[in-house]
Amino acid sequence: MRMKKFINDPKHLVEELLDGLVLAFPEKVRLAGGNIVARTVPKSSDKVRLVTLGGSGHEPGLSGFVGEGMLDCSVAGGIFAAPGAPGCIEAIRSACAGGSSALLIVLNHAGDVLSANITMEAALREGCKVKMVLTHEDISSGPNPEERRGLVGFLPVYKVAGAAAEQGASLDACLEIALRMERNMRTLAVAVRTATHPSTGQPIFELGDDEMEIGMGQHGEAGTGRGKLKTADETAEIMLNMLLDDLCVTAGEDLLVILNGAGATTLMELLILFRRVAHILKARKIRLVRSAVGEFITTQEQAGFQLLIARMDPELVKLWDAPANTPFFVKP
């Protein structure tokens, strides 16, 4: 099947999409070098800066969350490919300029982690005050946290650590908040239809017309198993139960639920799915204290979704509720 996308020269996808982002939200974000998206109005230098890095083609992730209350800076890589260390070092260097310190938030994917580790080594050698947190909450990639991928869980981590930084928390305090959020969240993804790689025009994986795959990663990495397509209620129930078991959630606990569309799953479907999630939680006497439904990280026109649950304490809820003003996540 021929690729049908509104693009120009595939060589310039990243450059053009970042241009579009800063032109659409000039009061929030600007380009600081080729592939670095920074805040238009930087926060004061006594506050901790949040930096992230990751491949492109997943919009609005990750650069769409640069702005007040969340990220200070995002380094965008190629399509589905990590940015190289030189750009990341540049970003950390400018984040730490003038005596500031920085928290680097990285989603656990091989290329991203490689660039991040090279960056940390060089930045620390230069004397930058920087710490790193890795998000790895995808329960389909095995029981070992080191093996688990980072999916939409970056969103609550950016949000709570960003709010803490905005309120003047120290680097160690921001790191503690980020780690607390990270340890208390779990995500599971499902795919029902493949996406086209916008550079090559080829599908990134094959999936039968009547199939779905629970546990598939952001790039079509195989999951725990393929099966026949199920209804929204059945799918939500299977996935939610797996997540609740993995996080060992018991009655009376407070949860944040995020339902993230992969790109081609409609908001109608997401809402129908969410309904079932909320019903099950109620039946199990688990409190749904906060929620978000929408597209936060996508894979082109892949159909499917990611379901995230996170155990919340009063401080995390407060930080989740704090103001944010980024291109694709706003809290008044």
Binding site: V14, G78, G84, A85, G87, A110, N117, S199, H219
Partner: protein, 216 residues
């Protein structure tokens, strides 16, 4: 017979490596589409571009700076793990002790070993995991062995290239255990790893650059 290689030879080695990667970039993308997102060849084209511009013969940079700068410019192509690993390898070579303008066989072998050590600091992947390491580790070992056996530099580099090619070939029967493709398990069997194939192309280019000297 040349006992040392200088900037001119390094430039030639990088240029031939770039040519070798360019000639196979479509196949690299094809291999990558089995287990990855099918863009490995495109990444390697961008790496090739960096290698072609790596050495400016008129510049006064010493060998170490040339290797370090080449490494960082390769890391800068934003091509995910493959360009990060390759860039780390070249930048790591600069950590070895070597002459200002030229290296002998021992220094070349030591530089390749330093490159491999730098890569090993960044990845836990081992030969057998179906990654670049399946070609890189045997290539560096072969170069060291050939140097210990007092082979000439061109012969030693050809032995490294040959080891890289058989290492890359051996990945065909392996199942990916590292990186993004590990999640595909059995589906990756039957196809050589694109990263390891790139390493073999790189070393074949190095060897081709020195081939004229081997014949003479």
């Amino acid at each position: 017979m040349n006992e040392r290689i200088g900037k001119a030879e390094i430039a030639h080695m990088f240029a031939e490596a770039a040519k070798s990667l360019r000639s196979q970039h479509e196949r690299l993308s094809e291999l990558d589409s089995v287990a990855g997102d099918g863009d490995h060849g495109t990444t390697m084209l961008r790496v090739a571009e960096q290698l072609e511009h790596a050495v400016d013969p008129s510049s006064s940079k010493n060998l170490q700076s040339i290797l370090r700068d080449t490494g960082w410019s390769v890391m800068g192509v934003d091509g995910g793990a493959s360009s990060a690993i390759l860039g780390t390898f070249f930048a790591g070579m600069a950590d070895a002790v070597m002459g200002e303008d030229s290296m002998d066989g021992h220094e070349l072998a030591a530089a390749f070993e330093a490159g491999l050590r730098a890569v090993s600091r960044q990845t836990k992947a081992q030969p057998g995991d179906k990654t670049m390491m399946d070609a890189l580790v045997p290539a560096v070992n072969a170069l060291r062995l050939a140097d210990s056996a007092s082979k000439t530099i061109p012969d030693a580099v050809e032995e490294a290239a040959s080891a890289a090619r058989s290492g890359a070939g051996s990945t065909k029967d392996l199942v990916a255990r590292y990186g993004r493709s590990k999640f595909l398990g059995e589906k990756t069997r039957g196809y050589p790893d694109p990263g390891a194939t790139s390493i073999a192309l790189l070393f074949s280019g190095f060897s081709a650059a020195l081939a004229t000297e081997r014949k003479s």
